[in-house]
């Protein structure tokens, strides 16, 4: 039966529209769908079949059931800020957008937990409880706009994960719609460490391939009593990297330990939130310590000493909260800021042992020379999580392919020193092939077998996270063709 106001012959659009309350909760015109052809990873673009906007878990389950019954590929999407293409509809999927499920359901300060819907924006949680002295720790740089549902899917990290852990360390319970439409609860009542397999852990970071999260119980933390932030400028990257290692070796666990190199500094200074970093320095470190007030000053003194021993040019603590906030805005908008110095960028997400930082950075510089593309480095130095940003111009033929190569070579460099290919951005479609740098075919099959248990028809977010074993060459060819077809 046709739904009022919907102008298409596609019966599934009518079918889905009925489940979500009519024409205001579904998109199907090409002009609207184009806005959904990619997420924060813009290299692969594919049109979805439709986008539906359910209001609650029941509507999500109905849409999922409909797709399963009619054999329609589908996937879930939050704010679409993911950096590995996890929400790109490779197979003309029906996108189930969760942004209208954006309520803060409850806050339980006594038990330090909160329940949110998946479309609730990360920073809004902290903003809602800050006046009572609490906050939500995982702080990806996109926290101004990314959703907690998306954070769960990607097991998002952030600047302060060095001390406080990534998203998975803060999830106490999930309500999930399985790919057949069944609604299940994991970690009931938000009690941590339930007996049995750690399904919460499995679901967190599964990149939307095992189910759709519709309700999340998260841990919230009391604000640290004191917090101090230091900025340190180095004339060479090796000194900066050594300082990072030395700080951790000294037994200090900073809340955050961030680094930007010269090209990255050029970007953030040319963009909307400059702080006046000197143009000629090789690296800037942003170091934050927090905790009980006693001892903070001592830690700061230790950090200053370490930096001095490593030939720091200038090091100073933030004068006040306003300065601290400016430093962080400058750092956290770093990726987007690259738009000010380059039309396109591709961000990578390798992880390495901290001690190998100088040599990997050297290798990245080589890659930049080999490909002729500039590479900026913004990274969570404290936990060895690198973000090389390959700068390119998609309008110049061949540059996109070169950027992909350069990105892949950076990940190879990470894997070569015993690191891995993603710290927090996820694999998505971007790093499918690079999974082979760290997993053997059998290991990949073992993991896709787990996926089969939850998602047997592979209708939910197919083509993400894993390469197809044994078809490495074909997949590469497919990717190239897909690229050319755009």
């Amino acid at each position: 039966m046709a739904v009022k106001g919907i102008k298409t012959k596609d019966k599934h659009i009518h079918g889905l529209a009925k489940l979500v309350g009519g024409q205001r909760a579904i998109l199907y015109h090409k002009e609207d769908l184009v806005a959904y052809d990619c997420d924060g990873f813009t290299i692969h673009k594919h049109l979805p079949r439709a986008v539906v906007f359910p209001k609650n878990t029941e509507e999500v389950a109905k849409c999922v059931k409909y797709c399963a019954t009619h054999n329609l590929p589908f996937l879930a999407r939050g704010a679409g800020t993911g950096l590995s293409g996890g929400a790109v509809p490779l197979h003309n999927e029906v996108i189930i957008s969760l942004v209208r499920m954006k309520n803060l359901i409850s806050v339980d300060l006594e038990n330090r937990r909160a329940v949110v819907e998946p479309g609730f924006v990360n920073l809004k949680l902290t903003n809602s409880i800050a006046d009572r002295g609490y906050y939500y720790a995982p702080d990806p740089s996109s926290q101004y706009c990314c959703t907690i549902g998306g954070n769960v899917a990607e097991n998002a990290g952030g600047a302060h994960c060095l001390k406080y852990g990534v998203t998975t360390n803060h999830i106490l319970g999930l309500e999930v719609v399985l790919p057949d439409g069944e609604i299940i609860e994991l970690g009931q009542n938000g009690i941590p460490d339930a007996p049995g397999y750690d399904l919460l852990g499995l679901m967190t970071g599964s990149e939307g391939t095992l189910g759709i999260v519709t309700k999340i119980t998260v841990r919230i933390l009391k604000n640290p009593e004191a917090k101090k932030t230091v900025l340190a400028y180095f004339d060479n990257v090796t000194d900066g990297s050594q300082a990072v290692s030395d700080i951790i070796s000294a037994g200090i666990v900073p809340a955050a330990l961030e680094m930007m190199d010269k090209t990255a500094i050029e970007g953030v200074e040319a963009a909307a939130f400059p702080v006046g970093h000197p143009k000629d320095i090789a690296a800037v470190l942003l170091i934050e310590v927090d905790g009980i007030a006693v001892g903070i000053d001592e830690q700061i003194t230790q950090i200053l000493d370490v930096c001095t021993a490593r030939n720091v040019r200038e090091v100073r603590a933030a004068k006040n909260e306003e300065e601290r906030a400016r430093w962080w805005a400058n750092r956290k908008t770093g990726f987007g800021a690259m738009g000010a110095i380059s039309p396109d960028y591709l961000v990578q997400d390798g992880v390495i042992p901290r001690s190998r930082l100088p040599e990997v950075l050297e290798r990245i510089e080589q890659i930049s020379e080999e490909t002729g593309l500039r590479i900026a480095n913004i990274f969570h130095a404290g936990d060895g999580n690198l973000h090389p940003l390959v700068l390119f111009d998609a309008r110049i033929p061949g540059q996109t392919e070169k950027a992909i190569e350069a990105g892949s070579a950076c990940l190879q460099a990470c894997a070569d020193v015993g690191g891995t290919i993603t710290g927090e951005h996820g694999v998505g479609i971007e790093k499918r092939e690079e999974m082979r740098f760290v997993f053997k075919d059998e290991e990949i099959i073992a993991q896709t077998n787990i996926r089969e248990v939850f998602n047997p028809g592979n209708l939910l977010n197919a083509g993400k996270l894993f390469p197809t074993p044994g078809r490495c060459g074909e997949v590469k060819k497919e990717m190239k063709e897909a690229l050319l077809a755009q």
């Binding site: 806005a35 813009t42 673009k45 679409g80 209208r100 990314c146 909307a272 987007g336 996109t400």
Partner: protein, 459 residues
């Protein structure tokens, strides 16, 4: 991912052999979207994204669509028009954007293309034409409309405004002030028709020219009068060039860039002698600072003149703040909250200056408004063309207005009308005032008190 073999820097669309679906000159500027990396930092700043949750109603989604038309992926049609015209043009995204993408500029350029490809028809077209071409550029017609009430009757907003009787816009209940409130209803442009300059009181510090505006001078001539008072009081000789006209902002917002250019040229000529051009309407100030954008491709010979003109344009609050003004001695014992007009905060980065003015008035107690720089939904004539969305935007704005304040101060006439409607609609009792009005009242009260003291001394 890009179909064109090669794109030269900023080519004129009409001469380029490309797949672009923009058919007219003055097409959306490729250099503007080249800055966008699709990071999404703009999403939460956007009122229409907040309300719909839909990507095509977000800043980066709109940029993506505008770019997709240039790449030949989609056409300029009704479906493309919807997101481009649903934008409030509030510019909150430009504040949020790490890469300074000029989303507002792109939207206006895209609207220019849409308007030429698909001229307005039906009711929307009639309303738009009535306002944009029939009224705003014609001072005498505006005057004969006799102010906001009649103007709004024509637009169907009569009911709401009738209840409010527009009187809510003015702090009528403030008896102490009413006695000294200027009872000016004649447009100041007409009033000072024969005066080449309104001289500064005391030693002159500088010369300024005042944009009286189209709607402003009819509906809010008392604000223009207040602006003249505070400027002369603080040492400025004020001129009101008689050849000036509507700034063209509403035309450009609506996609009528030809009319925008016509009005811009007239103003550039009218203000050619001015050292400073003072504006008390945020929307006009923002437009006048962006005149050069209109002459990027069409009539480029005007481009440099437009740049020179724009450099002289300044909001009255910023001018007062920068050049210094006298702190009033009389008190206004009121609790006041401040609403950032989008085209002041996001458009001109004027945020602290008006707050400073309010704080310097003795007795004023400033109350913080959460999300003060969130659009109220007025957005030029948006509240006329997109009443439903404008209503929803207004609703979320009103939720942020603190309960226990006497007045809401701001620096834009469009916002004043919209917020007055909000006050009326949601049963609130705040009075809506322009920032310079408050300063002027404080000065007037000061003078009245002085006179009274002199009088009593005399007795």
């Amino acid at each position: 991912m890009v179909k064109q073999a090669e794109i030269k820097e900023n080519p004129p669309c009409t001469t380029q052999k490309s797949l672009s679906n923009y058919l007219w000159k003055d097409h959306p500027d490729e250099n503007k979207w080249a800055d966008c990396t699709h990071c999404g930092m703009c999403l939460e700043s956007c009122p229409t994204y907040e309300l719909t949750g839909q990507e095509q109603h977000s800043p980066r989604g709109r940029v993506h669509l505008i770019k997709s038309v240039a790449e030949g992926k989609i056409a300029v049609n009704e479906q493309f028009m919807d997101p481009v015209y649903t934008c409030l043009d509030c510019r909150a995204c430009t504040t949020a954007c790490p890469a300074n993408v000029d989303v507002g500029g792109l939207i206006e350029e895209a609207r220019g293309q849409i308007r030429q490809s698909m001229p307005l028809t039906g009711a929307k077209g009639a309303v738009s034409k009535l306002f944009l071409n029939g009224i705003f550029p014609h001072q005498n017609r505006l005057n004969s409309l006799g102010g906001a009430l009649k103007l709004y009757q024509k637009s169907g907003m009569q009911k709401v405004i009738r209840k409010s009787k527009l009187i809510n816009v003015m702090p009528k209940h403030l008896v102490e002030m009413e006695a000294i409130m200027p009872k000016v209803h004649m447009p100041v442009k007409k009033k000072y028709k024969n005066e080449s300059v309104i001289p500064a009181k005391g030693t002159p510090k500088g010369d300024v020219a005042l944009l009286t505006g189209c709607v402003m001078d009819v509906m809010f001539s008392d604000i223009n009068e207040a602006t003249i008072n505070v400027l002369t009081r603080n040492g400025s000789n004020v001129r009101i060039p008689q050849n000036q006209t509507c700034c063209g902002a509403l035309h450009v917002h609506a996609g009528d860039r030809d009319s925008g250019r016509k009005l811009a040229k007239q103003n550039i000529k009218a203000f050619s002698d001015a050292e400073k051009i003072i504006v008390n309407a945020a929307g006009c100030g923002c437009m006048m600072k962006e005149y050069a954008e209109l002459f990027r491709e069409v009539e480029p010979e005007w481009h440099d003149r437009a740049v020179a003109f724009s450099e002289k344009v300044e909001d009255v609050s910023k001018y007062l703040y920068d050049t210094g003004y006298e702190k009033p001695k009389a008190s206004i014992n009121k609790r006041i909250t401040y609403h950032d007009a989008c085209h002041l905060a996001h458009g001109q980065n004027v945020r602290e200056e008006p707050r400073d003015i309010l704080l310097k008035i003795p007795g004023v107690e400033m109350v913080h408004m959460p999300n003060a720089d969130r659009c109220c939904g007025s957005a030029g004539i948006y509240n006329i063309t997109n009443p439903e969305m404008a209503g929803e935007v207004l609703e979320s704005k009103m939720k942020n207005v603190p309960d226990d304040v006497d007045m809401i101060s701001m620096g834009n006439p469009g916002c004043m009308l919209q917020m007055a409607m909000g006050v009326q609609k949601y049963g609130r009792n705040q009075k809506i005032v322009h920032t310079v009005q408050l300063l002027d009242w404080a000065y007037q009260k000061e003078r009245a008190e002085e006179e009274e003291n002199h009088g009593s001394e005399g007795n």
